[in-house]
Amino acid sequence: MLHDAVAANIRRSWLMLFLFAVLVGLVAWAFTYLLEMGTPGVVLAVAVALTAAWGSYFYSDRLVLAMTGARPARKDEFPYLVNITEALAIGAGIPQPRLYVVEDDCPNAFATGRDPRHGVVAVTTGLLGKLNRAELEGVVAHEIAHISNRDMLVATLAVTMVGIVALLGDWGTRSMLYGRRGRRSGRGQGGILVLLALLLAVVAPLAAQLLRFAVSRQREYLADASAALLTRYPRGLADALRKIAADPRPLRGAGPATAHLYIHNPLANRRGQSDLFSTHPPVEERIRRLESMG
């Protein structure tokens, strides 16, 4: 049952990444065809998006740790946390991640690192104070799952594709508004095609953003399911999520750029955020799914 939950989540996120690639391909084809942007434009967009996203992919661990002010968790100071993390890493069959603590009363945790060899897990001091052993194990297992599922790679892929679509859309509208008209507009149906392209240029980046958030939410469900499989105790994580969500304190040092890394969306308490544009699924639904696992 737990294995099935994990397998279903993996299938769904691959399907989403596939849809994403289809969207990118569609936009690229439409713009080269309709606007005579030519292949160089598409190649350039891919190159720019790749460079931007993969730069952050390689330096993400150092960047995020510096942004949040995390410090290494020493064993003599946090024997409990260190022992739990070491045990879970053994259970997941990944190398020991580097463990950090963030001085903050808000209970939260995040994972980063480009691959399991560079894995990083960080928890806030507020989390350590609030949770019991089983709950802390659930949270750390969720973070370990992000590392072993290579969610940083998945997130980077998604961001890259958003970047490609955004750049193409931007260049597409510019060339339509300011540039010379494509040769095809000389023909009869040109007007409609240009209108279509314009529509695509506006809608596609939005669709790409929505897909990116959908992928992020899917990966959260997957990490929850993997954590349940690892600890064989879904209740621990469910109880922890309930406690974390009930805490009204905001987390310092968290912004939209790093929100997807945390176990619980640090921006969740801000008003005016729609579920569609959220990196995390609603916490009630996560708890419901965890509890239905048994």
Binding site: N83, E86, A87, I90, G91, A92, G93, L230, R232
Partner: protein
Amino acid sequence: MELWLLLGLLGLLGLLLVGSYNRLITLKHRVDNAWAQIDVQLKRRADLVPNLVETVKGYMRHERETLEAVTEARARLARGGSVGDQAQANSMLSEALRTVFAVAENYPQLKADRNFLMLQEELAGIENKIAYARQYYNDSVLGLNTATERFPTNLVAALFRIGRREYFETRGADRDPVRVQF
């Protein structure tokens, strides 16, 4: 035409063989690595046990049997043997240690001893790591054993003598609540 068909079939067969073989080797190494993880933790625990016995001896004057059970289980574990033997010795040691910590509740001075508290957290941590290492090991063994039975990897496994492995099974004692004798 028929020659090409034959060559194509042979090529396909070769690919299948190579794929199956590589998969089996990956699974075999995963099991070996998982066993090494268990082994490391078992050794670390065995190293801490004499420390614990030394610390506890001064306080627990009337618990000779309890401590002897620990020392005996440790000695049995140190002898090694098959996966099953070690799993059994490990269960014995876990149970003996749990009895020590349960009995320790009756000795307030011991419970205030910093060295004892440190050993208690460390041994509890190792116990937890052994549990996770065992879970990962058993999952890995399941993967290998399944592959050695499934077609067509079973043929390749038989050809290269890659055999099934033994699960690291806990005995009932490991799951039972602690018995405390007064």
